[in-house]
C-alpha cells in the first residue's frame, strides 16, 4: 500500500472515481430488478454486479491490489474455508430440495396422497 504522501495524492482521484462507479453499479442493479428478469437470470445478474462492486471495494479502498503476501495467504485460506462453509451444508439437502417434509405425528399434507385413500 502507499506510504509516500505524493503517491497517496495521486490515488485520491481514483477513490472518488471508484465511489462514483459503485453508485452507477447500484443504479444498474436496481434497474435490472425493475425489468423483471426470470429468477435464475436475475440472481445471476445481481450476484455478478455485487461481486464486481465487492472486488472494487476490496482492491481499491482496502488496498488489496498491492498488499503483502502474508495478507494474501491468510485471505486465500479464508476463501477456501468460506467456499466450504457455503457449499458443504447444501450437499446435505441437495436430494430433498422442493420436497415437503412433515414433522413426525403432523397431519398428512394434502399433496401427499391423503385424499386418495378411498
Amino acid at each position: 500500500m502507499h506510504s509516500d504522501p505524493a503517491e497517496v495524492k495521486k490515488t485520491v482521484r481514483k477513490y472518488f472515481m471508484i465511489g462514483a462507479a459503485l453508485l452507477v453499479f447500484t443504479g444498474i442493479t436496481v434497474a435490472a430488478n425493475l425489468i423483471h428478469l426470470a429468477v435464475p437470470l436475475a440472481i445471476t445478474v445481481a450476484l455478478i454486479i455485487a461481486t464486481i462492486k465487492g472486488s472494487m471495494v476490496a482492491a481499491v479502498f482496502m488496498h488489496l491490489n498491492h498488499e503483502k503476501k502474508w495478507i494474501y495467504a491468510s485471505l486465500m485460506l479464508t476463501v477456501v474455508f468460506f467456499i466450504v462453509l457455503l457449499f458443504v451444508p447444501l450437499l446435505t439437502i441437495s436430494d430433498t430440495i422442493g420436497t415437503h417434509i412433515s414433522a413426525p405425528g403432523a397431519p398428512a399434507h394434502a399433496g401427499d396422497g391423503a385424499g386418495q385413500r378411498d
Binding site: 504522501p5 495524492k9 485520491v12 445481481a46 465487492g54 471495494v57 502474508w70 491468510s74
Partner: protein, 194 residues
C-alpha cells in the same frame, strides 16, 4: 512498556502487527457472515415459496448509496492524514460517522414499519433471516461508530504524540469499515431484490 511493531514493520511479515491483526479479524468476520449466508442459501433453496417485494427497494438502495459514500469519506480520512491535511481528515471522519448514523436511522424506520405490521422475525423464515442478517450488520455499524467516535474525540490526541501510529489506526478502522460496506453490497440484492 512499549508494544513493538505498531508503526515499523516486522522483518518477517513486512507488516505492522496491527495490520495483520485486523486482517485476521476480518477473516473471522468473513466466516461469521459466511455461516449466515450459507443458512440463507439453505433456507432459500429448501423453501417451497419465497416472498418477493416485502422490503422497500428504495430504502435499501438509499442505504447502499449512504454506505458507499461513507466508504469514500473513510478512505479520504486516511488519505488526508497521509497528506498531512488534519482539518480535512477531521471533516471526512466526522462525515463518515454522520453517514453511518443516517444508515441506522433509515434502518430504524424500516424495522419500525415492519414491526408495526406484525412482521417481526417470528412471522416467517424470510423475515427471520432478514432480521438476523441486517441486525448483525447493524451491530457492526454501531461498532464502527464507537471506534470512529473515539478517534474523533479522546483518541485524536494520539495524532500529536504519535502521528504515524494514529494514521495506522485510522487505516485499520477504514479496513473494518470497508468490510462492513462490502457485506452490505451482497445483502442488498439478496434480501431486497431477489
Amino acid at each position: 512498556m512499549n508494544i513493538p511493531y505498531t508503526v515499523e514493520t516486522r522483518p518477517d511479515t513486512g507488516l505492522a502487527n496491527g495490520k495483520l491483526g485486523i486482517w485476521l479479524f476480518l477473516a473471522s468476520e468473513v466466516m461469521l457472515f459466511g455461516a449466515l449466508f450459507s443458512t440463507y442459501i439453505i433456507l432459500r433453496t429448501g423453501a417451497v415459496e419465497w416472498p418477493h417485494g416485502e422490503l422497500s427497494v428504495l430504502l435499501g438502495a438509499i442505504n447502499t448509496v449512504i454506505l458507499i459514500s461513507s466508504s469514500v469519506t473513510m478512505v479520504m480520512a486516511w488519505a488526508s492524514l497521509k497528506m498531512n491535511e488534519w482539518s480535512k481528515h477531521r471533516l471526512y471522519l466526522i462525515l463518515t460517522f454522520v453517514l453511518a448514523g443516517v444508515f441506522l436511522v433509515n434502518k430504524y424506520f424500516e424495522y419500525s414499519e415492519h414491526l408495526a405490521l406484525g412482521e417481526g422475525p417470528w412471522a416467517s423464515t424470510f423475515l427471520a433471516i432478514y432480521f438476523t442478517l441486517t441486525g448483525l450488520h447493524g451491530l457492526h455499524i454501531v461498532g464502527g461508530m464507537v471506534v470512529m467516535a473515539y478517534f474523533i474525540g479522546p483518541g485524536a490526541k494520539m495524532a500529536k504524540t504519535s502521528p504515524d501510529q494514529f494514521t495506522n489506526r485510522i487505516e485499520y478502522t477504514g479496513l473494518y469499515w470497508h468490510f462492513v460496506d462490502l457485506v452490505w453490497i451482497f445483502l442488498f440484492p439478496l434480501l431486497y431484490l431477489l
